[in-house]
């Protein structure tokens, strides 16, 4: 649902994904990894698609990545997003594990609006690094800053 203070949609945290958001609240980007065969997996799920183990750990990532793709949504959009449109939504592939890709936003600083970076500066392959901000519903989410 939309958070009334921020206008952002709030992640509905489930059992599989809860650790991701808990680590994010501590400023850490962690990805679920199989405790048995070490395979990283995203989005989180109960068992390993490679070895079927139900044991998992959460591996800390460097927080560096590259823009895999991006879009610039224009209205009609939900109100909290329409106010900022056009903004960017990106898929970031992680430098440590390029097959792990996260949807996010490139912003000028962690707390800046979704439209705070000139779209002309975005390109596929551009290096980014993670920063965290409290978004809708008090949930801390990763944002992405362009590397100089």
């Amino acid at each position: 649902m939309t958070d009334s203070d921020t206008g952002y949609l709030t992640p509905v945290i489930d059992e599989d994904g809860a650790p991701f958001w808990e680590y994010a609240a501590r400023g850490q980007l962690r990805v679920q990894a199989c405790a048995s065969c070490d395979e990283l997996r995203f989005p989180p799920r109960p068992c390993c698609p490679r070895c079927q183990s139900f044991d998992s750990t959460w591996r800390r990532m460097s927080g560096r990545g590259r823009i895999w793709s991006y879009v610039l949504p224009h209205p009609p959009l939900l109100p909290g997003y329409a106010e900022q449109a056009p903004y960017n939504a990106v898929v970031v592939e992680l430098a440590d594990a390029p097959h792990i890709r996260l949807v996010g936003n490139v912003v000028a600083s962690a707390d800046a609006p979704l439209n705070s970076v000139d779209p002309e500066r975005l390109r596929v392959g551009a290096p980014v690094r993670v920063a965290f901000t409290v978004a809708g519903g008090g949930v801390t989410v990763p944002r992405w800053l362009l590397e100089r």
């Binding site: 949609l9 898929v91 949930v139």
Partner: protein, 382 residues
């Protein structure tokens, strides 16, 4: 191995008008389309004993069976993933009839999306997995989700907006020949396309399908029975569904190769059980909720190589007389967006020889369901 090959056929098709606003409920529209399809086949509603639909359908078979006066129903199914399920309805009916579970099957789609709500606005049901990983970041609508794949596709293979325009134009040109199409007598130019407002860059207004009110249905029977019906049978030659390894519906960003979507999986199964190959296809009805789904599907179904879907659209290839005439009723982009069911009925019209944009002597037609979600496909022959 037993196969479905040509053992069942589509014997009747029906539809309502297509418009932004139609009177009558979705249930009423569904009944009209189904009764029209049964009348077209020359089959009594009392003989219907099988129903197949796909998710995001608000009318269920209990209500429909009761309203149209069906007899005892012995088979019913519902395929998942919205627009990915359109062709699966016919596939399920074909399997049921070929294995003796039923004798007369009806598949349908009824929508009031032209005047009704957009499902993506219902955020409370969409935010649990996978929505929690995408929607808080403003990736809200299908156009945004497919736009993301499109940008990557353009980057990786050099596909251009002109390629997407070629798709939009081919569909619009066919709609301009089809009096039932919403975009009948409304031509599209390159300038209109290139200056259109953005929906989600790199996708503009004309890269998006039409939200429509309308309903369609078709009747599936055994090939033997079909030969006694009113029209030339359209045989169901092969069918397939496809849900690739590590796929994630609409936001297929998390498998090893996000640009090989469900079309690739469905295609492998479709051709494996067919006597035909892509070069034998006379006309194609390929799911076009968004223009980039066409080059992606052309690659997936084997009409060209990997990364060649953009260039394939050049030189009028998708127009009548081209290499692969496409969406000859106008498709979801320009006839009506009824979650792909109009593509099935248009395939039947082509093989009956009665399309408003008839491909001369068309005897084979590929019909596909939504790419980007777990999908389905049909290979039809006349």
């Amino acid at each position: 191995m037993a196969t479905l090959k040509d053992s069942t056929a589509i014997a009747g098709i029906g539809q309502t008008a297509f418009a932004k606003h139609l009177p009558g409920s979705e249930k009423t529209l569904a009944c009209r389309a189904i009764l029209a399809a049964l009348d077209d086949a020359g089959v009594s509603p009392a003989e219907v004993d099988a129903f197949a639909s796909y998710t995001m359908e608000e009318t269920d078979e209990v209500e429909i069976a009761k309203a149209i006066g069906a007899g005892d129903v012995t088979f019913f199914s519902k395929a998942g993933y919205g627009g990915g399920g359109s062709c699966a309805t016919v596939a399920h009916l074909a399997a049921a009839i070929a294995t003796g579970q039923a004798g007369v099957g009806v598949a349908w789609r009824s929508r009031k999306r032209g005047s009704g709500p957009r499902p993506w606005k219902n955020t409370s049901v969409q935010l649990p997995t996978p929505g929690q990983w995408t929607r808080p970041f403003g990736l809200l609508r299908p156009a945004d989700e497919i736009g993301m794949l499109t940008r990557r596709y353009m980057h990786e293979y050099g596909a251009t907006r002109d390629h997407l325009f070629n798709v939009a134009l081919a569909c619009r040109n066919r709609a301009n020949q089809n009096p039932a199409a919403i975009m009948y007598e409304r031509p599209l130019t390159r300038e209109m396309y290139m200056t259109a407002r953005w929906i989600s860059e790199p996708l503009c207004l004309f890269d998006n399908c039409l939200e429509t009110d309308g309903a369609l249905a078709c009747v599936v029977v055994s090939a033997e029975r079909a030969r006694d019906c009113r029209h030339r049978p359209v045989y169901i030659h092969s069918v397939a569904q496809g849900l690739p390894a590590q796929h994630h519906g609409m936001v297929n960003y998390w498998n090893d190769d996000p640009l090989t979507g469900p079309a690739w999986t469905a295609a492998r199964q479709l051709w494996k059980t067919a006597d035909l190959a892509p070069q034998d296809v006379d006309v194609a009805q390929i799911y076009d909720a968004f223009t980039p789904l066409i080059p992606l599907s052309l690659e997936g179904y084997g009409f060209c190589g990997r990364g060649e879907g953009g260039p394939f659209t050049e030189g009028g290839a998708l127009e009548i007389g081209g290499r692969l005439p496409l969406n000859t009723g106008g498709g979801g982009l320009s006839e009506a967006y009824v979650h792909g069911f109009n593509l099935i009925n248009e395939g039947v019209k082509q093989l009956r020889g009665v399309s408003t944009a008839q491909v001369p002597d068309a005897s084979t037609c590929l019909v596909t369901a939504g790419e980007g979600v777990p999908t389905s496909a049909l290979l039809l022959r006349g």
